[in-house]
Amino acid sequence: MSAHHSRSQFQRHFRRDEAHVPFSIDGIAYSGRRGDTVLVAIMSATDRLRLSEFTAEPRAGFCLIGACQDCFVTLACGRRVRACTTPLEAQMAFVTRERGNE
């Protein structure tokens, strides 16, 4: 995935004024809010989490409760996290490549 989508999928209705938490995707800066999961932070900023492994179609999680395992994302350090159950931390740097933690 290279092109970044400024279209945000999720809409915030609460916590809009919470402290901003900076993070980046492929070097582009975004900000989430205190109390965001990684998934909500990314999906409130863009419209996808990753590309699927075998057909490279966009994916954005599905269940939000840690069941479908569709929402794994990769950090620049190589660590992979399940976005819907991982709290956002300041300066998290996500990288989106086609597969896993290359």
Binding site: E53, F54, Q69, F72, T74, L75, C77, G78, R79, R80, R97, E98, R99, G100, N101, E102
Partner: protein, 388 residues
């Protein structure tokens, strides 16, 4: 109502051994009935690690293994799929200098068989295989060994046998087999009676039942190798790799998952089902992260295990019965029967059709266990056997 079948050959056990025998025998023109108590290729043959390797085998097994080596590239023609077979190369790693000394000695011993092993000292190994890290004292590489997908290969042999005209009865356990005047009579499933001229016992870890029924029990025990698979990851590991001593082996499939094994699982109350052990899986995971630092962020998604027959001298039983004419055994592959199985099927066909085979199998005779003291039956597989 009783269902009656008769065939030239009845085969008990539809693993890769029984299924490849069924296919070979059908091609030789004999009528065949193949029975499995569960589904063909669902036991060891379908759940193993998928290593298709000659390197590391005992000298006794090498002619058999070389014969199998000729069959693997022909899968497409034989069973309609290539089974993801690839000659990726097999890399044997030595953790300690004394392990490397053993690899060097092995390479010397098997030179006449033409495995073309390449030896590397630690530093050279890391230059040649740059994705490798951690403590590696040296390595031995067999470029033409490889890997395949057991889930696909083994059931496909059974299907090919059926397509070639074999009668395949799944969920049909053979309960009893007796010698008759002109062959054998079998009872199987809830309602099957089978008569045949020849009987093949390829019942894997369960094969001792029939061997015992014909008065030649073998000291067969069970092992449950423990396996781990990761999520799909970028392609990086081009070879199948195993550590001397058998504590760790690993390959990456084309879809990106790393399959790794080491250590043993355990049987459930129903000993036909086994579980991987957490201690073994964690040890394997730890070793993987030291050998491949690029996996540090990855996840494992599933553990599993399978049931395999083990014999005390780490060699299988292959050949004619010592007590009963017309009966042939092929079982107890000690964690390494996947690669050789297609050749074992071919040999069983030789034996049935002509009474002999060009491949040396004397070392595998069941008669080596005749008159063995019974306590040997209890010997358990140790951690050191090489599964892959």
């Amino acid at each position: 109502m009783i269902r009656r079948f008769s065939a030239d050959v009845a085969i008990v056990g539809g693993g890769l051994v029984g299924s490849s025998a069924a296919l070979a025998l059908r091609k030789a023109g004999l009528s065949v009935i193949l029975m499995d108590k569960g589904f063909c290729g669902a036991q060891a043959s379908g759940v193993n690690y998928g290593g298709v390797r000659r390197q590391g085998r005992s000298v006794a097994q090498l002619p058999l293994s070389q014969r199998a080596h000729q069959i693997w590239p022909r899968l497409k023609e034989l069973i309609g799929i290539d089974g993801e077979y690839q000659r990726s190369g097999h890399l044997k790693l030595a953790r300690k200098p004394e392990d490397f000394a053993r690899l060097e000695q092995y390479a010397e011993t098997v030179k006449p068989f033409g495995l073309n092993l390449e030896l590397f000292t630690g530093a050279m190994a890391k230059t040649r295989f740059p994705w490798l890290s951690g403590n590696v004292a040296g390595a031995s590489f067999c470029p033409d060994d490889g890997q395949a997908n057991p889930r696909l290969v083994s059931p496909a042999f059974a299907k090919a046998a059926r397509d070639a005209g074999a009668i395949v009865l799944e969920q049909t356990a053979v309960h009893a087999a007796v010698r008759t005047s002109d062959g054998f009579a079998l009872q199987a499933g809830t309602d099957c009676e089978i008569t045949c001229h020849f009987l093949i016992n390829s019942a894997g870890a369960w094969a001792n039942k029939i061997a015992t029924d014909f008065d030649e029990p073998a000291p067969l025990s069970r092992i449950y190798p423990s396996m781990v698979v990761t999520e799909p990851l970028a392609l990086r590991l081009p070879v199948s790799l195993g550590e001397e001593g058998g504590g760790f082996y690993c390959r990456q499939v084309q879809r990106g998952n790393y399959i790794m094994g080491g250590g043993r699982g355990y049987a459930l109350i129903d000993p036909d089902f086994s579980r991987p052990s957490t201690a073994a899986a964690l040890a394997v995971m730890k070793r993987a992260t030291t050998l491949f630092p690029h996996l540090a962020g990855a996840h494992v998604i599933r553990f599993w295990s399978g049931t395999e027959g083990q014999l005390p001298d780490n060699n299988p039983v292959i050949g004619r019965s010592g007590t009963t004419p017309g009966l042939f055994h092929a079982f107890g592959f000690c964690g390494a029967g996947f690669q050789v199985a297609p050749a074992v099927g071919a040999i069983l066909c030789d034996l049935v059709t002509s009474g002999e085979t060009a491949t040396p199998i004397a070392a595998f005779s069941i008669e080596r266990f005749h008159n063995m003291p019974p306590q040997h039956n209890k010997k358990k597989g140790t951690h050191n056997e090489m599964v892959e």
